[in-house]
Symmetry: C2
Subunit: 104 residues, 2 copies
DNA sequence: TAATATCAGTTACATAAAGTAACTAAGTGA
DNA sequence: TCACTTAGTTACTTTATGTAACTGATATTA
């Protein structure tokens, strides 16, 4: 009966990061603002459908921002907010762990 | 056409960590070795079915070890291997981010 | 001018993963 | 004997994801 209560903020963070594709999309955006098609092409097997869903979720969480450039034709750029950029150290630790513990 | 190739080890790490429940199970085990039912009860909404699946996957990845104590009745304890313990800093960064950026 | 291509998605349908609840087998305790 | 615990499993339902075709606005090419 020893119910170890998780911190709800920590739980929320894990929930965000452990949705399929979310981490890789954020990681991809760490390399700079980019267009929908660029993200889609950078992540093989990620469909436009799921990318579209994830970008909306991440925008809603305040992690990603979507900027429309009224050129012709219109150009839409996705980038990380400060909140999104702040996720970088997490990826740093994942990278370290993977280098140290996963086989080549 | 600028296909940003991901490091396969990094990709694998993200794949492991972003499976539903995996991170929370590992986090729970960071508090020490424990039995199936304890993990199950610590994580509300995690069913025995999925817990069983995840523990097998994590054992297969070398992150969790399963030890049978031949008492009567038999006791089975799950714990983290060194590889599993090494994930701790990732959770540290997730905790930091969540404290700084998620609303209370 | 007509045909084709690009971008940023959306839609419809198929498959895979997760949730729910009941069940099992071995042992314990009342 | 009946009920309870542990460590799961099974059958069934619901949700999520994958796949592929399609849209509508603009641009480019033949």
């Amino acid at each position: 009966m020893e119910r170890n209560l998780l911190c709800p903020r920590f739980e929320k963070a894990v929930e965000i990061l452990s949705k399929r594709w979310t981490s890789l999309i954020v990681f991809q955006l760490l390399s700079g603002p980019q267009r929908f098609i660029n993200i889609d092409q950078a992540l093989p097997n990620l469909s436009g459908k799921v990318l579209s869903e994830r970008l909306k979720e991440l925008e809603h969480e305040g992690i990603v921002k979507r900027v429309v450039f009224p050129e012709s034709p219109v150009r839409i750029e996705y980038s990380l907010t400060d909140k999104g950029q702040a996720l970088a150290p997490i990826f740093g630790e994942i990278a370290k762990w993977s280098q140290e513990w996963l086989p080549v």
